[in-house]
């Protein structure tokens, strides 16, 4: 067996994982009509075991998308509506005094975070203290209350939403917390043809019921195959140069980066691209990450990690514009032909 045979997943493994992931994707596309790119990005985020921040106006189907994802994966699902008076204990759980057999003990009552798929709705409406409680759980995948550490179920995904309007009384997520999200995906408005389809096929807008597309073993098999998806040095080098190129002090920085970016992406951004690109490659039926996979995931993985200066806000330049500029400016190979 060659090194490549030992390293790469076999065509059969990849085909099976792709088929399973494809079934999930089909289910998501049935749930959210006309949003194929969004559903693909959400699935890629989940397969990469990352958390996804969805930003969009109310009523675009974000909650239905997350519910559908949980159902298709056969995982437990909780929804948590973030409000200014939400306390950390409301998320993580708390110890309550219980009387058992005539004795009173503090018993830990797990909060809604103890689930596989958590929908953190309007996450920017909670106080920073509450947000940080969730974000700690997202990073560590465990919760510590009164000195006791409680691991979260595996897999654990947080799909948070935030509303780009009605910003009064909100607490925008700081950059350090945004960095915890693998992807920040914008939920676009649907087209008129999609709306027509929703009106004709969905009574009262109810999404179709889903049965799990795969079981726990199937999901584990996907993750196992994903672990073996290869990231070549050439592609890794390009990812590194892209992330380096988002820093205004870098030699690779484009004019746009130098003009508008205050701070570039962190190494976590490079890791996020690599992991997401692996999932993207597997969804495309490949055992290895290609430059096209990196290009597909770079914008949602990097745009929210860039800290732009006031000029960008004044001129309406967004993080995604900067990432697109960086992708265009940095060639895949440092060598010229």
């Amino acid at each position: 067996m060659t090194t490549a045979e030992a390293t790469l997943p076999s065509p059969a493994e990849v085909a099976k994982a792709r088929e399973s992931a494809g079934a999930i994707l089909d289910g998501l596309n049935r749930t959210l009509l006309g949003q194929e790119e969004l559903t693909r990005r959400v699935l890629v985020g989940c397969l990469a075991r990352g958390h996804v921040l969805l930003e969009g106006l109310p009523g675009l189907g974000k909650t239905e998308l997350v519910k559908g994802l949980a159902a298709l994966l056969g995982l437990s699902f909780r929804r948590l509506q973030f409000t200014p008076d939400l306390m950390p204990g409301d998320i993580t759980g708390a110890h309550v005094l219980e009387q058992t057999d005539g004795r009173r003990n503090f018993v830990f009552r797990p909060g809604p975070v103890f689930t596989n798929v958590l929908l953190a709705d309007e996450i920017n409406r909670a106080s920073p203290k509450t947000q940080s409680a969730l974000l700690e759980a997202m990073a560590e995948r465990r919760v510590t209350v009164l000195g006791e550490t409680h691991p979260l179920p595996s897999p654990f995904f947080v799909l948070a939403t935030q509303n780009p309007i009605e910003l009064e009384g909100t607490y925008p997520l700081p950059e350090a917390q945004l960095d915890r999200f693998l992807f920040k995906v914008e939920v676009p408005a649907v087209s008129s043809s999609t709306l027509e389809q929703i009106l004709t096929t969905r009574r009262a807008g109810r999404a179709p019921e889903h049965r799990p597309a795969i079981d726990a073993a199937g999901l584990d098999a996907i993750f196992a195959t994903l672990e073996r998806v290869h990231l070549s040095r050439a592609v890794a080098g390009w990812i590194s140069r892209i992330v380096e190129g988002t820093h205004p002090t870098s030699a690779h920085a484009s004019a746009k980066v130098k003009a508008y970016v205050k701070h570039g992406a962190s190494p976590r951004g490079a890791i996020a691209i690599a992991e997401a690109a692996r999932a993207q490659a597997l969804l495309s039926g490949k055992p290895t990450v290609g430059f096209d996979d990196v290009r597909a995931v770079a914008t949602p993985a990097l745009a929210h990690r860039l800290v732009l200066d006031y000029r960008a806000r004044l001129e309406g330049v967004r993080g995604s514009d900067i990432v697109q500029d960086v992708l265009a400016a940095i060639p895949e190979s440092p060598e010229r032909v």
Binding site: A4, T7, S232, V235, T288, G290, F291, E332, E335
Partner: protein, 353 residues
């Protein structure tokens, strides 16, 4: 037959080398050839180099393609760089770079498909990058070598040559007028003047001036010779005038006449005077009696007159220095020639005791 990664990488690297070589060698060869052709043209125009000699100046331009090859080799991508290029230009799927890193696997057919697409997109060698600057340079070099150049690009205008010919012709006329030249010499001088005139008409100023210089030198040489003969004759005439012995004075007069004749200065003597002089000298030789003082004085004046007229013509023609002539005339050595001079064998010799 399926394309292997190794062959595809080799093909791309060769193509990259060819492209880089063409990109560099075109302008480099063009500029160096143009520069060398400019030098060759300058050498032909200013230093009168022959075409074959000037063509050798183009040889250093041949170093440009060699240097371009050296630089082009530095721009050839590495094997990994080539694999990355092939991957990106196939479908950016990562199969090519993965096989480059890990070797062949069960996914190799996908790699081969990608390579087929990448090879179809290989960059073409841009011959235009070489031919465009090179063709211009070659055209210029050909012109620089084969264009007909005048013998001397920078020379005097034709009017200047004509004036020089006229000046020398004037001198020749003055010489011929003043001196009785040998026919061979006269023909030679005329021939040289004609040759100079022909060179001038042929637009060959260098040869014209060289011929004129030689002719002028020859004319002045004859004039100098005549002047020297005139000085000698004058000295003999002075001796004839001052010698107390009539026989010796007659001898000096005869010698002066022969000197003038040999130098061609006898042309200015009137035919009557010439004939009288010949007859007197012949008669004196026949009779054995020397000429009388009066006859000697008359003949000496005749000779002096002819001599002065000939020298005056040479001076007018600027063949001899007029100042010298004026000084000599002022000396007037024959003016005190004594017509009644008589002396016998016992006459006191000048300076004697």
């Amino acid at each position: 037959m399926a394309v292997t990664l190794k062959t595809a990488v080799s093909k791309l690297r060769r193509r990259a080398l060819a492209r880089a070589w063409l990109r560099h060698s075109g302008p480099w060869l063009g500029w160096t050839l143009t520069g060398a052709a400019t030098v060759a043209l300058a050498a032909r125009a200013l230093a009168d180099w022959e075409r074959a000699e000037a063509a050798w100046l183009l040889a250093p331009a041949l170093a440009a393609p060699v240097l371009a090859f050296v630089f082009a080799r530095r721009e050839v991508p590495s094997a990994h760089g080539a694999a990355t290029w092939l991957d990106v230009h196939a479908d950016a799927s990562g199969f090519v770079v993965t096989e480059d890193e890990l070797g062949q696997s069960s996914w190799t057919p996908r790699t081969e498909e990608a390579l087929e697409r990448a090879l179809a997109a290989l960059p073409k060698p841009q011959c235009r990058a070489l031919l465009a600057p090179l063709s211009l340079a070659v055209a210029f070099a050909s012109l620089a070598l084969w264009i007909e150049l005048p013998e001397r690009v920078i020379g005097p205008p034709p009017a200047v040559s004509s004036a020089a010919i006229a000046r020398v012709e004037e001198k020749l006329d003055a010489l011929e007028e003043a001196l009785a030249l040998e026919p061979e010499l006269e023909a030679e001088l005329e021939q040289r003047l004609e040759a100079a005139r022909a060179d001038s008409e042929a637009g060959n100023p260098e040869s014209t001036y060289e011929a004129l210089d030689q002719l002028e030198g020859r004319i002045e040489e004859e004039a100098q010779r005549a002047e020297q003969a005139a000085q000698q004759a004058l000295a003999e005439l002075e001796r004839a005038a001052s010698d107390p012995s009539l026989a010796k004075a007659q001898e000096a007069l005869k010698s002066a006449r022969e000197t003038l004749e040999a130098a061609g200065l006898s042309k200015e003597l009137s035919p009557d005077a010439e004939r009288a002089l010949k007859e007197a000298l012949a008669e004196a030789a026949q009779s054995g009696e020397p000429l009388s003082s009066a006859e000697l004085a008359k003949l000496a004046r005749e000779l002096k007159g002819g001599l002065d007229a000939g020298l005056a013509k040479l001076a007018n023609g600027r063949l001899i220095d007029p100042k010298k002539l004026a000084k000599r005339a002022a000396s007037g050595s024959l003016d005190e020639f004594d017509d009644t001079h008589e002396c016998d064998e016992e006459c006191k010799q000048p300076g004697g005791t």
